[in-house]
Amino acid sequence: MRLIKPSYAEMSDEALMRSMRNGDQRAFDEIYKRYSGPLLGYFMRMLWRDREKAEDFVHDLFAKIIRKPDYFDMERSFKTWIYSVANNMCKNEYKKQEVRKGMSNGLDNHFSLSDTNVNVMGEVQDSFFREAFERGMQSLDEKHKEAFALRHMEGLSIKEISEILDINEGTVKSRIFYATKYLAEELKVFNPVINR
């Protein structure tokens, strides 16, 4: 029988959420520590590497968790739930941008913003590959991009991705397959083995 509470680092995400729901701030700190970085990266990849926007999205997502912890179904995996919320936020942002694009002068604001973002360029200045990769990612359509990012950037399993995107596993595999083939083709110029 274990009467002493395990440390927060040992607790599962779901157990932390239960504690957090009861007002345990240290549980919230642990959840934030686990997911804030990966989610920031995810938002950056999904939102045209706009760090400001990604920071805002991270803040909004955790604010939702604080205000409405009951939205999380304790029977589900927290990881898949939080990524599905993040993914929905990105989709809403895409829709918003589509509306703006229709009202704009035709310039693609995202690429101009992200490409001229000094911070982002500072992060990737030593890697042309990275730049090309990001361009390739942005040129993918949303459904392929999100599946690929969740699989290869966030390291989620096919099953988890199918739960997050609410599609069957076959479709997930198909989308990842397509995105992988596309990016590999786009980036083959950087491969020293092939270009030898």
Binding site: M1, L3, A15, V58, I66, S127, A184
Partner: protein, 254 residues
């Protein structure tokens, strides 16, 4: 899909078996495609390692503030209690592994078992005993007879009591051996009275007081070792002819 990626990352093209080539065939059918995939996956791994992003501190401060506002009341006094509750009743574990339920079950068992050892066997009260009511089925003929005999016997008893003379008790000097009505030793007295009744056919009871009042009034003494002789010298030396009732008694006795 996971297997395909693992094969591509870990192996070279010429190391692939036939089954593995078949498995990855759709994604990388040729060596060139295989190398493209391998390069992409390895570069993405490097990017992930390099790109360790952390949100700004302001974001966390803002969220902490929001958290405290939202859970203000709970945060004041509830953190310690929450920790205890989570430790004692972790919902993610099966019920039988939750410490609170385990302790409660142990206490319940103790409460149920300990009183059994301390229990005394007390005599059961009449209220606790089962009642055995035996109903006697009455026989009308027998009942009538019983009633008749009981009335007859009660009447006879009353008549006898009325006819019998009242027994007078004469004072006997106290000598440590008290007898209300004594003329001879107790055993003999009873025996003699029964025999005399049978022999003579008398209905009344024999009394030495009636027969020899002097004897009854005298103090009982016996100096003889075998105790045959009862009474004083004067009485024992009395002639049997002088006491015909006593003679009849002795005759009937022996």
């Amino acid at each position: 899909m996971e297997n395909v990626e693992e094969i591509i990352v870990k192996k070279n093209y010429h190391e692939l078996s036939g089954d593995e080539r078949e498995l990855i065939g759709e994604l990388a059918g040729t060596e060139e495609e295989f190398e493209q995939m391998k390069f992409l996956f390895s570069q993405m791994e490097m990017m992930k390692d390099r790109e360790v992003l952390e949100p700004r501190a302001e974001t966390k401060h803002s969220l902490d503030h929001l958290f405290q506002e939202t859970h203000q009341q709970k945060a004041r006094g509830g953190i310690w209690l929450n920790s205890v509750l989570v430790a004692l009743y972790p919902v993610e574990r099966p019920a039988y592994k939750r410490p609170l339920l385990q302790v409660a079950a142990a206490v319940l068992v103790i409460l149920l078992v300990v009183p059994l050892f301390n229990q005394r066997i007390e005599p059961s009260t009449p209220a606790q005993l089962a009642k055995n009511e035996i109903k006697q089925e009455s026989d009308p003929i027998v009942d009538e007879k019983k009633e008749e005999t009981s009335t007859e016997s009660s009447e006879q008893l009353k008549e006898q009591q009325a006819a019998a003379p009242p027994v007078t008790k004469e004072p006997v000097p106290h000598n440590g051996f008290v007898r209300d009505d004594l003329s001879m030793p107790i055993a003999i007295d009873k025996f003699v009275s029964a025999e005399s009744d049978a022999a003579v056919g008398a209905t009344s009871t024999f009394s030495i007081v009636d027969v020899a009042p002097e004897m009854a009034s005298t103090e009982i003494k016996s100096d003889h070792p075998d105790g045959v002789f009862v009474g004083d010298h004067m009485l024992t030396s009395m002639s049997a002819a002088d006491q015909p009732e006593l003679l009849d008694l002795l005759t009937a006795t022996f």
